[in-house]
Symmetry: C2
Subunit: 132 residues, 2 copies
DNA sequence: ACAAATGATACAATTATGGTATCATTTCTG
DNA sequence: CAGAAATGATACCATAATTGTATCATTTGT
C-alpha cells in the first residue's frame, strides 16, 4: 500500500528542483534531463501544478515554469491532494454489517482518528524542509 | 486513497459474523446469504483466512469455517496484512533527487514516523471491539 | 515568419483489484 | 459403498486505476 504515487513523486522532485533554483524559469526539457522522468508525463504533471497554483507557467520561447509561492508555503499534502485526491481512509465499505448503528460505529471512529493524524502530519511538511 | 480494500472489508464482515456466532460452524453458503458478498470471491477470502490461521476449516458435509482464536486476539492489522501486504508508506520513490543523502533524508524520517503511528493504531484494533 | 515553449486533450499500456469457474479432495449420511 | 455437501487449490477473466504517449493548438521571443 503506497502512500505516495508516482505522479506525486515526480511532482515533488520537480518542485524541489525549482525550489533549489529559486527565481529561475525552468523548462520541461531541462527538468527531464535533470530528473530523469518521462517527458510527456512530466509535462502533464507540471500543467496540473500550474492549474493548481503551485507553479506559474510562462509560455512561448524561453518559457517554462517557476514556483508560484515560497517553498515554505507549499505543503506535501497540497501536492498529494492534486494527484491522489482527498485523503479518505474511512468511508465505511462495511455497511452496517459490522456495527449496528453507523452513528456510533467504533471502527469508523478509530479510523477517523488515524486519518486526522495522518492529515495533520502531511500538512505540516513543506517543501523547504526537504531541501537543506 | 483507500486504507481498506474490498477483500479486507469482506474478510472483516465474515470474521465479525463468526465472532457473533461464536462456536458455530458457518458455511460459505450461509455467509453469502447473510453478508451479500459474491460467493466464489468469499470462498477465496475464507481460504486465505484459513491458511493464515485466523479461521479453521472443517471439510465435508456439514463443514464450514469457525474462528481459530478468540475475537480479542484477532487484530485489524492482521487481516489487512493478509490481503494488502505489509503497510509501507515510505520506501523512497524519490531517489536521492530530493535529499542529498538518504541516510538522513528528512522526508523519509517524517513518513516513517507517520507509518509507525498508523501501524500501532491498526494493530490495536481487535475484532471483539467492533461488535458490541 | 519561425522556432521554442506551454495548454488541452485523447489515446494506449501496464498493473492492481475484484471476481468467476473448475476440478480435486474430504467427510457426513443413508 | 454411493452420493451429496462441503472446502482446497488454482487458473482464468473483467474492470478500474495507474502510468504513461501523442498530437494539435496557442503563445511569445527573436
Ligand atoms: S463499519 Fe461501517 S458504519 Fe460501522
Ligand atoms: S527523498 Fe528519498 S531518500 Fe530522501
Amino acid at each position: 500500500m503506497k502512500l505516495i504515487t508516482r505522479n506525486t513523486d515526480y511532482a515533488l522532485r520537480a518542485v524541489c528542483f525549482m525550489a533549489k533554483h529559486k527565481g529561475k524559469v525552468v523548462s520541461v526539457a531541462e527538468l527531464t534531463r535533470k530528473l530523469r522522468v518521462p517527458r510527456p508525463f512530466l509535462r502533464k504533471i507540471l500543467q496540473s501544478l500550474n492549474r493548481s497554483g503551485i507553479l506559474k507557467s510562462l509560455r512561448g520561447q524561453g518559457g517554462g515554469f517557476i514556483l508560484a509561492k515560497d517553498a515554505t508555503q507549499i505543503f506535501l499534502m497540497d501536492i498529494m491532494r492534486i494527484f491522489q485526491g482527498k485523503l479518505r481512509l474511512n468511508d465505511c465499505l462495511l455497511k452496517k454489517l459490522i456495527c449496528p448503528n453507523k452513528r456510533s460505529c467504533p471502527l469508523r471512529k478509530k479510523i477517523a482518528k488515524i486519518e486526522s493524524y495522518v492529515l495533520k502530519e502531511l500538512s505540516a511538511i513543506n517543501i523547504a524542509s526537504l531541501l537543506e
